[in-house]
Symmetry: C2
Subunit: 649 residues, 2 copies
């Protein structure tokens, strides 16, 4: 019929069915399986944001036609079995696809929720340094002398007078809403009220006036906003007790696992809002869980401190991080003012305040400021070094007289990204590895379950022991024929860590040559950064009294093996300490102590930031450090000794 002649050409569409739930969607031809999964509401992990770099969105094509771009992140065997990267595979017919559990974002989320139990058990006390107890937001019960003909100050002045009797507060601010409610509350409560006071720099703000004595309930939340993981602690601001903790993945990883990818997405229309809402959602989710579990109310929480790298802090506050990655690499704000938490969407007391730990520069953020405070770097007469190994690796050196810091773009290999079977230190992750001279492998998983993959500390052990037994050479290359576990797949060598029969995923868990190359680059970046920074201030490692390793990662690290692979300088074990998650420890201290909060501002202002791109020798150092432990064995005498012994020299 002629009526159809003008109809638009029908777009070709194919049906994609996801198993085991058998969720079906119709998508246009040339859609990727990742697009189809999004349409179906199936949440795949995608740390690299769909660029085919991380290899985490593995699916199994059971039936139908697809076209896959070549990738080194899958073995030929896997490809034969139907494995494909969802983001690199387009549909060319109706397809049935199976999603293995490890590729599901929601599964990861559930695991990390369980994992919070572990986080909770760690960090027994934040008392590495002593600070005066003077919380950023405090509740004060006041019994005002009632107004009388002889004492006829206004309500506002009467309140301020009483606050000043208890508090050194030269400047007190008061919002109109609080002032409007004041006369009624004072009289109904017979002049006995609780004021909630929040510091904004040198100014004390009256956030709320409540009838009677409610001072017993005053809670705060500290948050470590990591690029990968967001951790929250619930703190009693009155007793200083840490009541509970939560941890979740940063949902922003849907847009990529690195800071750079987040900055790139923030530059797209609506991108900044999406990223902000995403991390705010994560924080609100944790707060709700903490509120429910501890039987408190959202309005009992009056303050939130946040430590994050500079970009994470910007995204949380809705600040454009774009200038951070363009020369001259300045941040819009390194010391954002306290804001009302509700202004960014965080659900606590409606007038509660959100405090962001100040950053040192665009690439050394509030997490490092918090860390420097927490480990007491600024208070020590001896020189100390803080190495925070996260998605980036930041290094700070100094003492009470001077401090310097830099950032090395180590990449997220130690967080499990860019490593075929890498994963975070969650249930089922191999966290310890020992390889005997005959190639027998011993390992321990988080939670003691069957292994699903391997996390950072396991990877360090693995590299150290592969080298120790000679299965890899000093440049990190697998030695062909050294052990039956080393085998060739798809034209490259790989080491079989756990056979499919023993793994949770019914797949072999291997470490490939590409994985080893990535790990060596990551450790080289961190070591080279430490080296360049130390030399830039005219020191050498021998003059560093203590090296403090920070990061969620650091809790499981074998110090000697970390030295053995050349990740950290070769110092005696007693001079290497694990400080844990120093970002959240510092955020806790700030929450509990205005002095600590001020000290973090002094730290952020006084640390000299060294941009490694200004050091031409950094790249040489990096190349030299891409060996095990280093090109220059003289720098690792303890390792040289072992090497000498083991090679029978």
């Amino acid at each position: 019929m002629s009526a159809l002649a003008g109809a638009p050409r029908r777009e070709r569409r194919f049906e994609v069915t996801f198993c085991p739930e058998r969720e079906s969607v119709r998508v246009p031809a040339e859609s990727t399986l990742m697009d189809a999964a999004k349409t179906a509401g199936v949440d795949l992990t995608s740390p690299c944001g769909g660029d085919g770099l991380c290899g985490k969105c593995r699916v199994i094509v059971r039936q139908g036609n697809v076209t896959a771009r070549p990738t080194s992140l899958l073995s030929r065997e896997e490809i034969r079995c139907g494995y494909a990267l969802a983001c690199q595979t387009t549909v060319t017919g109706d397809v049935e696809v199976e999603i293995p559990p490890e590729s599901r974002a929601e599964a990861a989320q559930i695991l990390i929720d369980l994992d919070a139990q572990r986080f909770r058990a760690l960090h027994p006390a934040a008392d590495a340094i002593e600070v005066r107890h003077a919380p950023l937001v405090r509740k004060l019960y006041l019994e005002l002398p009632p107004a009388s003909l002889d004492d006829n100050l206004s309500d506002q002045s009467r309140l301020f007078r009483e606050i000043r009797r208890r508090h050194a507060a030269p400047i007190i601010q008061l919002g109109l809403k609080v002032l409007q409610a004041l006369p009624r509350i004072l009289r109904q409560a017979n002049w006995k009220v609780t004021v909630t006071l929040g510091w904004r720099g040198a100014t004390l703000e009256v956030l709320q006036v409540e009838p009677g004595d409610t001072s017993v309930r005053n809670l705060g939340i500290s948050v470590d906003v990591g690029t990968s993981t967001v951790v929250a602690h619930l703190i009693d601001l009155d007793t200083t007790a840490r009541l509970d903790a939560e941890a979740v993945y940063n949902s922003q990883r849907a847009w990529g696992d690195t800071v750079i990818r987040r900055i790139t997405h923030a530059a797209t229309p609506g991108g900044l809002d999406e990223l902000q809402e995403s991390v705010v959602g994560d924080i609100n989710g944790m707060i709700s869980a903490l509120v429910e579990r501890n039987r408190i109310a959202h309005h009992d929480i009056t303050a939130v401190t946040v430590a994050g790298n500079t970009t994470m802090t910007h995204l949380l506050l809705g600040l454009d991080p774009g200038p951070i990655r363009r020369s001259p690499y300045v941040a819009p704000s390194t010391a954002p003012p306290p804001v009302r938490a509700v202004e960014v969407g965080i659900k606590i007391h409606p007038r509660g305040l959100l405090y962001a730990v100040p950053s040192i520069g665009g690439w050394v953020g509030g997490d490092i400021t918090a860390g420097i405070l927490a480990v007491g770097l600024r208070r020590s007469s001896a020189v100390q070094m803080l190495i925070d190994i996260g998605t980036n690796g930041e290094i700070a050196i100094g003492n009470r007289d001077w401090m310097v810091a830099c950032s090395s773009s180590a990449g997220p290999a130690f967080e499990g990204s860019g490593v075929r079977h890498g994963m975070k230190a969650m249930h089922g992750a191999i966290e310890r590895v020992e390889i005997g001279p005959e190639g027998n492998v011993h390992y321990r998983t988080v939670g003691g379950t069957r292994p699903r993959g391997i996390c950072g500390s396991g990877l360090i052990d693995l590299v150290a022991d592969l080298r120790k037994v000679g299965f890899i050479d000093r440049s990190g290359r697998l030695v062909s024929g050294a052990t039956p576990r080393t085998r060739e797949r798809d034209g490259a060598l790989e080491f079989l860590l756990v056979p499919a029969s023993r793994s949770e995923t019914d797949q072999d868990i291997v470490v490939t040559q590409a994985d080893l190359t990535n790990l060596l680059s990551a450790k080289a970046a961190i070591y080279a950064g430490s080296q360049v920074l130390t030399r830039a201030v005219g020191l050498d490692f021998g003059l560093v009294e203590r090296v403090l390793i920070a990061g969620g990662f650091g809790n499981y690290l074998d110090r000697e093996k970390a030295v053995a692979i050349g990740l950290i300088p070769d110092l005696p074990p007693e001079r290497i300490c694990f400080a844990g998650n120093t970002a959240i420890l510092g955020a806790n201290l700030g929450l509990l102590s205005r002095d600590a909060w001020e000290e973090m501002h002094q730290i952020a202002e006084s640390v000299t930031y060294y941009d490694l791109i200004n050091f031409p020798d950094y790249y040489d150092e990096f190349l030299a450090a891409r060996f095990l432990p280093h090109t220059d064995l003289g720098r690792f005498p303890s390792v040289r000794q072992v090497e000498a012994v083991e090679t029978g020299a």
Copy 2:
């Protein structure tokens, strides 16, 4: 039919028709004519709020049945002619009512709009005292050094550094919204921006950052919020020029003409909101008129200062004024913090600030603080006295070393309320009166039109001259038979000022014995207050170097006649000055000078408030002052001399 048996009994209703517009409404029996007028949307003046005390809601009942409560505010002749007070008259049948022009609120509004022309012509300069030009909100054009690898401060710190190079500002605050826009604006504008900076106490807030140089346009509004009249000036904050002015009646007068009535209404459900919206509407109306006439935009206005008595300030800010009128008479706030103008609904720049001049106490408000600043009382070595005659009469005495103040509840007689033909100094108001010995009356009206009534300055002249020619005795009683103009009506004497044939209203304009009694009470309250306050500090009037009369009223006052009736102390004319509307002069100075603003805070804190109820001799003084000029003629030697001459002694 049984279906109708349960129907509610029909309420009896009557039709009320208002002339000349012939607007008809049906109202329930026993409604007052005031209720009917409200229902019909006919806006009657009602300064007393419907209590039958002011006599301003006069209407003429042309036909039909009404019941009127007895009132002394209408003559029998008037009652015979059908005059009635709308608030005291209930309908008992269908009625036709005429509303004379002087009873219409909207007419009054139109008149005062014209009258603003006069206000504008007054107050040639606010330069009575010298202050440093440093506006509360200032625009600053900055050319920032662009960020570079060598100078890689964050955007925020770069901005603050440049502000501090130009401004002593220890504490700078910045809202999240401004910070969020900062990186884009700085770069788009090539680091050349205009910042709008507003002081909040010792803290400087960055209200806005705009690209390029917009510093040429920065305007402020100063407002005198009087109980009766609201006046606004438009000020160029850069050049200090006063560009324009507006004045309107305070719409709150619909709920009564005194502070007490407003406080009472604020205590009713929704009352505080109604009062706030009402005065905010007045201010917004004036701002719109100023914006339109001067071809500016609302967002060019960045600051508003407001001087008002304590209750007016509370109502504007939405603060409950209730405690002011209950023992121990404390105000909720005497120094409210600056707030964003939009928070109370005032339409200027969305981040512009509203500053309320601090009050001295519950009954001596920011208008007096502003007045004390404007007349230089605090800077003078000699003792001076400021008398502000408005709806209340406030008195301040002091010099640079000490200051005291009190409030005497003089009532609004000098503003035309509670006086049969009293009115404000608007077109048609008799503002000057002279009575010859033979009883011939000369008068001058505002605008030179036919008289409609008599305003404060005319009333002072009238009382002074009635006494001078002996038509009233020293106690203010009309002397029967002294002149044909004195006649009896309704059992009391009255003086015929203007016969109906010459008046605009076609009615006789008279002053009744009740009017004279009210006026004597008002002047006695003010004099007694001055007297008690002066004595309380151990002085007498002779030691007061200068008496400054303030109030819109004061501009037309005949100094010698004001002394002759005993309103102000008997000092030589050169020691009595008219200072005009000192409230708005002080508000202007505060807007233009942060120093002046701080000085007002020092004034508000350092003035000692004397509550006259604590002085038992106040009432005796008041009674003694209810004579002309005073019981004790020794206090008024200049008047005694005249009296002696005129009585031939």
